[in-house]
């Protein structure tokens, strides 16, 4: 077995720090709440249409639902990258120790997966049946495989009469409704994992789960909007370069519907306000009550992490995109920049919580600095460095590309 001290490679210590203290929770623990946050956010966005009947979000809802499924599959991966014994990860499901916040993961994650998968099935049931009928008896290996997949996906339910479809819609509504609290729970408990650590002065606050849920919805909506814009613009670009102008239909020239984006960004702004309010409340409260840990926390928040918190997170991640989204007459370019900044801001928030929470020692008299490994030279620096984070970051898009082949979520009208 390899002999190494976990964390030694990327932790720089300053002043008085206990000998066993290192940055044990590194980049993958930043990625983990970031990914579950995107899942929850994407699902809430799709539910806004299904449950609350926000007709203006109809086009985005289907996409958001399928995308949240792709994100969902990726959500546990950062944990697997982080565990020292990933092969034992299944123990969390088999021998959960219920006083631990992490042990809820198995139950919440599985029940949530089932809800999302079932909802997708109901949304696409008609499509599966139609595909299965159309492909029946067609020549060619690809058609045969496709037929097999779709026939299996119908699960033998071929009734697509209006009454049956009406029942489907009812089921979708119920599932989307049940899904919202479960999605919030999935992410809220991720916040609870941090908020309940009494040993960590920065993490311990009952506001943590709520802050996490709000920023989760912000990031989820932003990612869905951004991905939607990129995919639609890419399609428009491809059609424009391959077809003669007189061959194109009106829909094909269209690309992104700015009206849809304008409406969605209203929800985004609402959740952003909620997230920022809670975060500032937490900060003000800490400063005002000024308990024992405040001296070291202040030196982190206003000193060592000032750029990360106030410049990167609040200015670039919140204030600037907030203004860009509020300005009238949005353009695609402005939206892309604003949404990317929102996503960056939420990532920085996760970073400032996870890494910021370990930036100071339990002695309250020393600091630790996380020097993130960029170029890996062993398994540790690969998994818990920039490369590992990139793998996790790219994964949902690859999965979405694959899933979208079977359940097309972005169709021309």
């Amino acid at each position: 077995m390899d002999v190494y001290v976990h964390g030694l490679e990327w932790t720089l210590k300053e002043l008085f720090v206990y000998p066993n203290e290192f940055i044990y929770w590194s980049i993958q623990i930043v990625m983990y709440p970031y990914m579950t946050g995107l899942v929850a956010g994407a699902f809430v966005l799709s539910s806004l249409y299904h449950v609350f009947g926000q007709e203006d979000l109809k086009d985005l809802a289907k996409f958001a639902l399928v995308f949240s499924f792709a994100l969902l599959i990726v959500a546990p991966m950062p944990l697997m990258f982080h565990l020292q014994h990933p092969m034992r990860g299944m123990e969390v499901f088999f021998t959960p120790h219920f006083t631990s916040a992490i042990s809820a993961f198995g139950i919440v994650f599985f029940s949530y997966s089932i809800i999302v998968a079932t909802e997708i099935w109901f949304v696409y049931r008609k499509f599966f049946v139609e595909q299965s009928m159309a492909l029946k008896g067609k020549e060619g290996l690809v058609n045969r495989i496709k037929w097999l997949i779709y026939t299996a996906l119908t699960l033998g339910a071929y009734d697509i009469s209006p009454e049956a479809l009406h029942k489907d819609e009812k089921a979708i509504k119920i599932l989307a409704g049940v899904g919202i609290p479960v999605a919030c729970f999935l992410h809220g408990y991720a916040g609870f994992i941090f908020g309940s650590v009494k040993a960590n002065a920065l993490w311990m606050t009952p506001l943590m789960p709520v802050i996490f849920i709000m920023s989760a919805i912000v990031s989820g909506i932003a990612l869905c909007m951004l991905t939607y814009i990129i995919i639609m613009e890419w399609r428009k670009f491809r059609i424009r370069t391959s077809k003669k102008p007189w061959e194109m239909t009106a829909e094909e020239v269209g690309g992104v519907e700015l009206d849809l984006m304008r409406k969605t960004s209203k929800y985004l702004i609402g959740f952003m306000i909620a997230a920022i309010t809670l975060e500032l409340l937490d900060l003000v409260f800490r400063g005002y009550t000024a308990v024992k840990s405040w001296d070291i926390l202040r030196s982190i928040i206003y000193g060592k992490d000032f750029v990360n918190i106030f410049i990167k997170q609040y200015t670039f991640g919140n204030l600037i995109p907030f203004i860009m989204l509020l300005l009238p007459r949005p353009t695609v370019k402005r939206l892309v920049i604003a949404l990317s900044l929102v996503l960056f801001g939420v990532f920085m928030m996760r970073w400032n919580v996870v890494i910021g929470g370990q930036a100071f020692s339990l002695t309250f008299a020393g600091y630790m600095h996380y020097k993130i490994p960029v170029i890996p030279h062993n398994m540790q620096t690969f998994k818990e460095g920039v490369t590992g984070a990139l793998v996790i970051g790219i994964m949902p898009f690859v999965l979405f590309w694959g899933i979208n082949k079977i359940v097309p979520s972005l169709k021309y009208k």
Binding site: Q84, A101, V197
Partner: protein
């Protein structure tokens, strides 16, 4: 027999009440309470550190690393010694190079040259797992790989730990780390393998000045219990509600 919905609900409610009321007479026991009522728990291990006697030689750290096979040249350690220097202007300086394994031979503290005339007081504080009565590390383990014995000692099952590090985060004393070889959570065990054989812990045996003592807190005649009962002692960070069971004589307010 015809039954209306109203009748059905009535019967159900009555039935539920009839079964629930006698059940209320029973008391639900936590696993620890249940175990305590069956097993004989005549032992509760506790620890006593006399900071006045510690000179910072680091023999305890050496002995611990060798006894418990924590790779000698790694900075992680199950027990360590801290050096505190308080200046006349009230400033506190502290360090623990390699956990104090090789003693404190460098007059520099925190890489600072200090004029001996400026020093108001200086002392050493040995640290180890507090074997808390209410251990947060046990609470947060997602798979139950870390547990508390009936005698109070908290252990880690190396064959079951998944290495998530949640227990390391949950410990306010920073006593946990990942073992450099097994890559599972690791901590001081009060040398339980020695205690159960009637021996002392390795650090207690290695201490030339008797600064460290281990004893049974349930035995009122145990010398450790005697000191804790009759003298003025303190524990580390009681504000976390962990109820630590390592007691200190002469604990300074500067100690972290």
């Amino acid at each position: 027999m015809r039954q209306t919905r109203r009748d059905f609900l009535k019967t159900i409610t009555r039935g539920a009440l009839v079964t629930a009321l006698p059940l209320g007479a029973f008391k639900f026991l936590s696993p620890r309470e249940a175990r305590a009522s069956v097993e004989s728990t005549k032992v509760r291990w506790g620890f006593l550190v006399d900071t006045f006697k510690c000179v910072g030689c680091g023999f305890c750290v050496k002995a611990c690393k060798l006894e418990n096979e924590v790779p000698y040249d790694t900075p992680v350690t199950r027990t360590w010694v801290e050096r505190y220097v308080i200046l006349k202007n009230g400033r506190m300086l502290a360090d623990t190079p390699m956990g104090g394994r090789d003693g404190f031979t460098d007059p520099k503290v925190q890489e600072e040259e200090i004029n001996p005339k400026d020093i108001a007081k200086g002392f050493f504080v040995p640290k180890l797992c507090n074997q808390c009565e209410n251990p947060p590390c046990v609470q947060v383990c997602p798979v139950g790989a870390t547990y508390q014995r009936a005698d109070g000692v908290v252990l880690v099952d190396r064959s079951w730990c998944i290495g998530c590090g949640y227990c390391i985060m949950a410990c306010p004393y920073g006593v946990r780390f990942f073992h450099p070889v097994y890559h599972t959570a690791e901590k001081c065990t009060f040398c339980i393998h020695r205690l159960v054989k009637g021996m002392n812990t390795a650090c207690v045996d290695a201490c030339p000045f008797g600064a460290r003592k281990v004893g049974n807190l349930k035995d009122p005649n145990d010398p450790v219990t005697q000191v804790i009962l009759n003298q003025r002692v303190a524990v580390l960070k009681p504000e976390y509600g962990t109820k630590p069971q390592v007691y200190y004589i002469g604990l300074d307010e500067n100690v972290r």
